[in-house]
Symmetry: C2
Subunit: 201 residues, 2 copies
Amino acid sequence: MPAKRPPVPLSRERIIEAALHIADSQGLRRLTMRRLGDALQVEAMAIYHHLPRGKDALMDALAEHVTAVHAEPADSWQESARAWCRASRAALREHPGVLALALTKPPKGRAAIALMEQTEQLSDAGLPDPAQAVRALRAYVFGSVAVEVQRSGWADSPADGAEPWRPPSAGGGSAAADADFEHGLDALLAGLNPRRTEAER
Amino acid sequence: MPAKRPPVPLSRERIIEAALHIADSQGLRRLTMRRLGDALQVEAMAIYHHLPRGKDALMDALAEHVTAVHAEPADSWQESARAWCRASRAALREHPGVLALALTKPPKGRAAIALMEQTEQLSDAGLPDPAQAVRALRAYVFGSVAVEVQRSGWADSPADGAEPWRPPSAGGGSAAADADFEHGLDALLAGLNPRRTEAER
DNA sequence: ACCTGAACACCGTTCAAGT
DNA sequence: ACCTGAACACCGTTCAAGT
């Protein structure tokens, strides 16, 4: 019987991946340094070598991971905004276990950079207050995902599956939620428009 | 020297009040059964007599407390909706320490009842899909409070004051946030309107 | 009925030590 | 450089016991 040497060395990425899996399948309160070590086939203390600030650093990294979305600028600012709103929603929905962190922790690192890029895209398109527009769009994504995940009852039974998460498919399920999201997004984008009609007459 | 007998007996209300104070001033992660006991001048184990399911029950109670807002029905459904949106926002802003719970935990008890009341108010006003309207309004409140609290950097320094919380008053502070909120709320309410103009012609 | 004390299993983090 | 083992202070929760 061959002696087991850790096949793949520990890394920040592998730690975050494993942490997301635990949080999504068992809930944030069960995400523990020791359990995380077990999942990675390593003593919990080894994690500190890759995340020096310990659990706080882990929480920050999780929030950043699920919140730092990048989307290529499109033809119109509306399409650009639509793209990263959809991407943000998808990322948040995929990881309900860290949603509380994502909605609550101020953006840092790559998340903060992504925010700046988005603001710049809207600024280049000539929007009068691009920062405010980005805030409004972020608020929309945050709010709709929060309500959707709340409604799914995820927080009540976070121990069912190992997969990312599947909204209750029958009756008021994912398709209706998607339609609601797109509909509200359209309305918001229309509201953000520097009302061309008014200026033209 | 008179012997100190606990002056006021422990109660569910006093426990929740103290817990909110700790969460808002020090952060949710520092809200501990033992610390809570200290704040209440009692051994931690005494709390279990009033909250049998322990810390889980406490978390539920906190989410419910900050999320169960009641507002009297007004003349129009718009004014009713405006009233409880404002009340919800105020309650959430007052307690940033439990915002993560409020946005994440499915509504129970008085919170669920408040939701039903709101749906009924919109239903009585003849809105085609009152449940969806309530969801949209809730999402709006959740999202705007989330970005506002995030922006305030509260999660980065939850140890500064004992008072509920004061948004950074200078430069993009509370007044601008209020105006943004009202403006967006107007737009949303307009969008929810069963477009009278279209039906009339 | 309401609270305490001791106990148990578990947690985050440190530090010296191993390789 | 990367990981382990032992240790420390702290945590949630139980249970029998006190009043």
